[in-house]
């Protein structure tokens, strides 16, 4: 039996090698002159303020949920687009009108997007996208 996982292993090996070889070469040939500024934690240019181990406001979680909605959408759109290219050209077997297959699949995706958009409107309308300081509202939103 042919073991297809060998390819995956090779792929991982090649990926690791690509990073390691680059960094290893750089270590060998670069000049080595450290100073305090260079060794400091990098944070977009400015000096770091406070500790990095901070607690995030839990109100972010509603944003994360809404973000997830569209993250998943993108995940599903890409394979759909791949399949669409193929099916719109060749059609699939059990369609009565093979030339309409593309339209049908396009409508299916529109329905999917519509459902997601209803979800977004729902979250928006219920105030999940507002950064409120009203504690009663926070309690209603999060239950805490």
């Amino acid at each position: 039996m042919e073991n297809n996982y060998n390819i995956v292993f090779l792929f991982m090996l090649a990926g690791a090698a690509m990073g390691l070889v680059g960094m290893g070469l750089a270590t060998l040939i670069r000049p080595h002159r450290p100073n305090e500024l260079k060794l400091d934690t990098y944070e977009c240019g400015p000096k770091t303020v406070g500790k990095t181990w901070i607690q995030y406001n839990f109100r972010f979680y509603t944003y994360v949920l809404v973000f997830l909605l569209f993250d998943i959408e993108a995940v599903y759109l890409i394979p759909w687009a791949q399949a669409f290219k193929h099916i719109a050209r060749h059609g699939i077997g059990d369609f009565i009108f093979p030339e309409m297959a593309g339209l049908f699949i396009f409508t299916e995706m529109l329905v999917f997007l519509l459902i997601l958009i209803i979800g977004l409107i729902y979250a928006w309308k219920k105030g999940a996208l507002e950064w409120t300081k009203d504690h009663r509202k926070i309690k209603r939103m999060t239950g805490f």
Partner: protein, 497 residues
């Protein structure tokens, strides 16, 4: 356009209904939200009508063979839709009395119902997993619907953890089956495991057994089979009562239907391992666990939770009987007759829904504890009488539907000459009489603490209650009509494609 897709109409109707309810909730924020309950009820009825119009004995395999619409799945869908619509009727009054997020409740019930319909006819590992998770996730939210109630929150979290782990186990089992056969369609997996096509690994028996056990564990969580029954009492107690009814009736029936289809399709067609021994032992332990634990319960929802575990034990015994009958008679036909289990499920749905309807109606006046049902016969003779009938039915005593269900299961076991299992099941039925009749004892023979009457006979809940009552007694007294209907619908699972 795609010829088979019209068969999905009942599911699509429910999905559209749920979305419409959410949409109305967004647009008209000032309407009386419990009206949306009637809308949800209407959509279950439309879905039911669609199911009947499209219903036929023929087996349709649509969406590239991953969705099976046959007599079995249509019967299960009809049961689920009946249960769902009755539960929506209960919950309208319940939601109206004070529950946050009224519209979402009905939308979630519809979504959950839709995913159950998908679950009972999916024939592909991916689709099964998707529907399984959909049912679970909407149930987690519904269980934790009383957000200010610690018990409800705890129940939701417990259910979530159990559900997440069981889904992981289920996927593990699926991965073994997929790894062995290279297929995700259950009919193709069955062909491969039955030796019809070349397997990827020649010596597969042990791995297939491992897959079977893991998949069984995943399904076992949903139906509350023995080692995975721990969540049931806590979740049933903490959840809002209509949701408890929904879990114990609809969710469990969908799980049983899925288990039937999966096990009878994948693991019977020339499959070499006799797995009925495992299921036999589990069913005995499940029956005893449910019945013995129910004896000491004081909370009626917890008691019904344990009793539902016991009922799963009887159902598993029925599965053992059917499978064993097949082995002993050397049956190699294309269709499995699972009507005893479906009749039992019907009985279970009617009587359990009825009991929960009474609990919902009397909850405000009595609370959940069994001793507080004292003197119900004087405070509300009607409810007390009805609850007595439902308890008779749950215990399986003759003029009720519960007896008919047990009769067919035990009859199947006698056919398969599993006399020991029959004796154990009968012993369990006798044990169960004690705790069911404890409720009746408190209602009729213990004087009430207060003379307060004033039960809220909500019209809708009463209607649902009368429907369950009529079903329980009518099918119990003259079962012929119903059984003819069941046989005529050719309730069988096609195992060969």
């Amino acid at each position: 356009m795609n010829t088979g897709l019209i068969r999905l109409l009942p599911e699509l109707v429910l999905c559209f209904g749920a979305l419409l309810i959410i949409f109305i909730d967004i647009i008209y924020s000032d309407i009386k939200k419990y009206w949306l309950g009637f809308l949800a009820y209407g959509f279950t009825i439309i879905s039911f009508i669609c199911l009947f119009i499209l219903g036929s004995n023929k087996t349709w395999l649509i969406v590239q063979g991953s969705y099976a619409v046959d007599g079995f799945s249509i019967f299960c869908k009809a049961l689920l839709l009946i249960a769902g619509s009755v539960i929506i009727l209960f919950s309208i009054a319940y939601v109206y009395r004070g529950m946050e997020y009224k519209a979402e409740f009905f939308a979630l019930i519809l979504f959950s119902l839709m995913s159950m319909l998908v679950l009972v006819s999916s024939a592909d590992l991916i689709l099964i997993l998707l529907a399984f998770e959909f049912v679970s996730i909407s149930s987690y939210i519904l269980v934790g619907y009383h957000r200010d109630d610690m018990k409800s929150r705890e129940a939701s979290l417990k259910y979530f953890f159990y559900g997440a782990i069981s889904a992981a186990i289920l996927v593990m089992g699926f991965s073994f089956l997929y790894g062995l056969t290279g297929e995700t369609n259950i009919y193709l997996i069955a062909r491969a495991l039955g030796g019809k096509t070349q397997l990827l690994i020649p010596d597969y028996t042990l791995l297939a057994l491992l897959g079977l056990v893991l998949v069984g564990a995943g399904f076992g969580f949903k139906i509350g089979m023995f080692p995975f029954q721990m969540w049931i009492p806590d979740v049933y107690e903490g959840a809002p009562t209509p949701v408890t009814a929904f879990l114990s009736v609809a969710s469990k029936s969908a799980g049983v239907a899925l288990l039937l289809r999966f096990f009878f399709v994948v693991f019977t067609n020339n499959f070499s391992i006799n797995w009925s021994i495992i299921l036999l032992v589990i069913s005995i332990i499940t029956m005893f666990t449910g019945n013995l634990m129910a004896i000491s319960q004081n909370n009626i929802k917890r008691m019904l939770g344990y009793s539902s575990i016991a009922h799963v034990g009887y159902i598993l015994a029925g599965i053992v009987g059917i499978y064993h009958y097949k082995i002993t008679t050397g049956y190699t036909g294309a269709t499995f007759d699972v009507s005893p289990i479906l009749i039992y499920l019907t009985a279970y749905i009617y009587m359990n829904l009825g009991a929960f309807a009474v609990i919902i109606l009397s909850e405000d006046m009595t609370g959940d504890n069994i001793p507080s049902y004292a003197g119900m016969s004087q405070r509300s003779p009607l409810l007390a009488g009805m609850l007595t009938i439902f308890m008779l039915s749950l215990a399986g005593i003759p003029p009720t539907i519960g007896f008919i269900g047990k009769f067919f299961i035990f009859g199947e076991l006698v056919n398969a000459s599993h006399y020991l299992l029959v004796i154990l099941a009968v012993i369990n039925s006798i044990i169960s009489v004690y705790y069911y009749f404890r409720v009746v004892y408190f209602m009729y023979f213990v004087p009430p603490e207060t003379e307060k009457k004033g039960f809220s006979y909500s019209l809708l809940t009463m209607g649902a209650l009368w429907a369950c009552f009529a079903g329980t007694l009518f099918i119990g007294i003259s079962p012929n009509l119903f059984i003819e209907l069941a046989k005529k619908a050719l309730i069988g699972i096609d195992i060969i494609r």
